[in-house]
Amino acid sequence: MTAIGWLQIVVFSLAVLAVTKPVGVYLVRVYDGSVRWLAPVERVIYRLCGIDPDEDQHWTRYAAGLLLFSAISMLATYVVLRLQAHLPLNPFHRAAVPDRQAFETAASFTTNTNWQSYTGETVMSYLSQMTQLAFHNFTSAASGVAAAVALARGIARRSGGRIGNFWTDLVRGTLYVFLPLSFVLALLFVQQGMIQNFHPYVTATTLEGAKQVLAMGPVASQEAIKQLGTNGGGFFNANAAHPFENPTPWTNFLSTLAIFVVPAGLTYMFGRMVKNRKHGWALWAAMFVLFLGGVATAYWAEAKGNPIHAAHGVDVVASATNPGGNMEGKEVRFGIAASALYATVTTDASCGAVNSMHDSFTPLGGLVPLVNIQLGELIFGGVGSGLYGMLVMAILTVFIAGLMVGRTPEYLGKKIQSREVRMAMLYVLIFPAVILLLTAASAVLPAGLKGLNNNGPHGLSEILYAFSSVTGNNGSAFAGLTGTTYYYNTLLGLGTLFGRFAMMVPMLALAGFLAERRIVPASVGTFPVTTPLFVVLLIGVILIVGALTFFPALSLGPIVEHLLMGAGRLF
């Protein structure tokens, strides 16, 4: 590990801290309706779609709107991908996307996962990229934030189960948050040399004299929302390791920061909405501690490198001319610290963009992204999903604290009783159930084993990572798993759907139930949710829930692989 490496992590952390409050204040104003500078556009959309923007929806109606919008947009994407050969903006005559991949891609982008089993630059037409994938990049992000805002409203007010209006939250999030932020970020990216064009692909001659086709396209505009919306689906197959998609250290820094901008701001927004800013910062602190633990572990493991390399005389010590450590699968322009930071941030949030190949990390370095996803994508998390995941954990924390002292638990003035805990537990249990059942099936079925490139514990890690990634709506790939089969395309597509909607529904129910409860004033028996004790307890609950559910699988995968690496065995 080097001082300059740590300096990058410190500067990044300070930047996240600096953007939290201004973004949070803006988000409050967007979702309380006081930002109006695109009001005419809003009105036209509401009129065209027959939306009553003043309707305060019951949680069941809010959930129905979310499901209806997702179902229709997913089916539309499926149809366009299947028909792209006959549609315009297809200058390279891309054929129809195969049915299994069209299903998986439609599900994946609808759910903010953006798992890609195809090579973007050789499979998708410009029309598919711009009207379908980019559309979902905006709307899946906006619907995630909408759901988080709905839960915040449920906690903040007493309104008979009414938690806002899904359609206005969706439109306002897209118009006032993601479109303008993406526009500004895309301009910064273009200024740094990221490409943004509709040129035909360019044929270049390499130094060895070989011909190489360089893909072109509107990359900067896709890249901006890919990061800000924690989508992660790259324009190019190499994602942010591609020099056109991540040309300079500044684009690398900005794109890493962009992943955390909205999730960090949401913690402040929540504090403002519930009139307890200290609690918003307490959530931020819990997220930050977990982030710091992850990035420190990944950086340490990668900087230390593989002892087998050292045993064979490879110089793994960092020096002025040698990055040292484990550089396999890493972009030499970014090195170990920026790769470990990017891998941690992209899996803390449900982004899934990568600037290095996680499969090439050391076992413990690769364990960090996997654990980040398995903790529930709540370390700042996906846009919206990070906040509501953390709030569910906060509710479980006060419930456990209430059990300890024998009092009815309260969370921000709302009593937490059996129905709230039922919904919170549904939310918590569905996630590991989907991951572990699909992983277990794939580890024994011939169709599941057929896709593996590595055997032993590393092979299990590849399967476990794939299902964790799609169910957590992350979308990053560990690589090494051939996912372009009917078996994997279909199951991974279903994993994204269950990981998104089967968790969102109980969370919205929880929001509705809390919105039915009256707000009781704090008393001497109320467990304070602004203290370091609360932060420690919250982190403990998150780690214990994660450890209890995933430790057996992790011990058979990356942990045993690490121990065997020490004994000189590789997989």
Binding site: T60, L75, D99, Q417, S418, L494, A509, E516, R518
Partner: protein, 38 residues
Amino acid sequence: MLDVVYILLTLAFFGLMVAYVRACEHLGREGTGEEDRP
């Protein structure tokens, strides 16, 4: 041919989610007796 299967699979999933919403609503009412509606 499989297009029909995938479209039906999508519709079945979202149909299941609608039923899930109703089940959660039911779970919220069932036997709590604690609702304090405004």
